[in-house]
Amino acid sequence: MINSVLDWVEDRTGAVSGVKHFLYEDIPASSGWHQVLGSVAMFCFLVQVVTGILLALNYAPTPPDAHASLRFILTELTSGRLIRGLHHWGASMIVVVGMHLLQTFLWGAYKKPREATWMLGVILLLLTLGFGLTGYLLPWDNRAYWGTVVTTQITAKAPIAGPYILRLMGSEDGNIGVQTFARFYGAHVLLLPPLMMMLIGLHVFLVRKHGVAPAPVETEPKKKFFPGQVFKDTVAIFIMFSILFALATMVRVPLGKIADPTDTTYIPRPEWYFLFLFQLLKFFEGPLEIIGSMVLPGVAVGLLFATPFIDRGAAIKLRQRTFAFGIVLFAAIGWGSLTFAAMRSTPHKEPYQSFTAEEVAAVGSFRQGQCWQCHGVTPGDMKAGPNLADIAVHEERDALVAHFQKNAGNRGLKDLQFRQLATFMRKLDDESVVAIASTPINVVSGAQLYMKNNCGVCHSINSAGGKSGPPLNGVAKRRDRTWLEGHFGDPQKFSPGSMMPAYKFERADMDSMLAYMETLKD
């Protein structure tokens, strides 16, 4: 039965012999595990295509709905988080493409007659970067918005072409709006994918045309691509997919707060593989900036592109190509240290540090109410009730309070605390939910004390509270611990004329209060 169908297909289309021709290609006996990376890169692209199409089927490609629809995908749909996670982590396929390039370089596989294959590969690398650049804006959260603002501002500074590139990006004045978004989305889903597919096709065609690059000396006769090498490729693909799947299920990719052009506290950082460029920019000031933003990257791409013509030597063995090896080493060290420096200089702010005192205290109520017995708060934490890290809370406040009273009414919490917890629950998002598990105990106790003593009547934390006392953000930078401790006990002694009453805290309470004060950042 199957055979007769295959015969018919073969007779009418020639597809069977076509596939056979592809699978039973002769490859050098030296081929092996080092040549799997091209297949893995292609597989990663395929995963991006599949997950990208799935995302697009539930995504509204215009701000601000883009953010709302992605939130819908993440919090309401089955497997939404998995698919978005796969797409996000799959974007790091740039690493695989980079490794493929590195392997080709080290094995000297770009040399005559494979120059065109190499140059096409460099274009594919640039297209991959293009995907990363245009896709970065699409979640329309603060990270996306501010990251893209920086990119467009850099390109706007290009000599002569700057304003035109800016207009090509759909922006007149460097601001980003619906038009830029449409251009980025259009490029990401309509322009780049077919281009990428065609060039991958051409790239593979050239690989077949010239054959897999042989070792300097081939002693054994050639072997077939299938099944030996296909098996090795598949194992590598399987390992790659397992890594992707594990990342997508276990490492949360938070959807941040919706893009806010007026948010001055947000610290934009590019995707990790662009961090080295970001760091490079810090070394060039004023008119020299263009060296870091355009000249150096431009020269690097140019050199990469021209590699087969710069290095025309026939030597393939790495031992005979110390200079080439030196360049790789230099580039790797440069990239590594720039990335490391950028990461070190990234200020870290815990989610709870943007909370008001009421919200930090609500974390305490969550813990005291033992809500964690039924609700997980970290990805993959399976409990009887919904996992708060996976969903958005839509219930009305009154319904939530009733739910708390029913399930945690006997755990010493007051109605006011329940109402504050309900408000907090409704405000939780992908980023802030982490705080329920991560806020240190003494900080929570400090915030609870702060609420109990009504400190917020006079003082404010993160813009919430009274104005008659000084705002407490950054207080630990202005005063040391001894001063703070003494001030609580006798305010007038430390700041004469202060209207603050004295607070005699127990030792443990004082420590919690001080710990809380010390986490308040500017």
Binding site: F72, L77, S79, P227, F231
Partner: protein, 164 residues
């Protein structure tokens, strides 16, 4: 002997390739099915909407009521116009039909002449109590949940009518 080991090795390789590819396809395909086929997690019941004034309705005289309602549409809350055919059946009894024909979804209207709801598309017609009189419609008109509060007529969710 060597032939046989080679054959075995080949079988193992081909089998492994198929198994790994199958696993990947399943790990992508099954979540994709869930993603596309399972409806969103949140099921919000619509609020009761005040749609009509009991005193202004005449007994057994269907009245088309247009009202605004808020509906969750995917990732959006939309305010939209909705319509209902409201029929006062007694002193304080009211039924409200969805104007959507149960055949293929066209909007039915009241024909005062022969006292039926008529669908303009395939001429299904329904009696004042919603039952199918003629035409291809498979079941009676769907009804809104109705609550009468004093003189206020409140409409809730639409419930699908029974088959036949």
């Amino acid at each position: 002997m060597a032939e046989e080991t080679l054959e075995k090795r080949r079988g193992f390789l081909v089998g492994s390739i198929a198994a790994m590819m199958g696993t990947i396809s399943a790990a992508l395909g099954l979540p994709a099915l869930g993603y596309l086929l399972v409806p969103g997690r949140e099921k919000k019941k619509s609020d009761w909407i005040e749609a009509a004034d009991l005193t202004k309705l005449m007994v057994n005289q269907p009245e088309q009521i247009i009202f605004n309602r808020v509906r969750r549409d995917g990732w959006k809350l939309v305010t939209e116009k909705a319509a209902a055919w409201v029929v006062k059946t007694g002193e304080s009894q009211v039924v409200a039909f969805s104007p959507v024909c149960t055949h293929l979804g066209c909007a039915v209207s009241w024909n005062t002449g022969d006292k039926t709801f008529v669908c303009p598309c395939h001429t299904s017609s329904f009696s004042p109590d919603g039952k199918v009189v003629a035409g291809p419609a498979p079941r009676a008109l769907d009804r809104f949940d109705v609550r009468v509060d004093g003189i206020k007529v409140l409409l809730g969710d639409v419930k699908q009518s029974a088959e036949g």
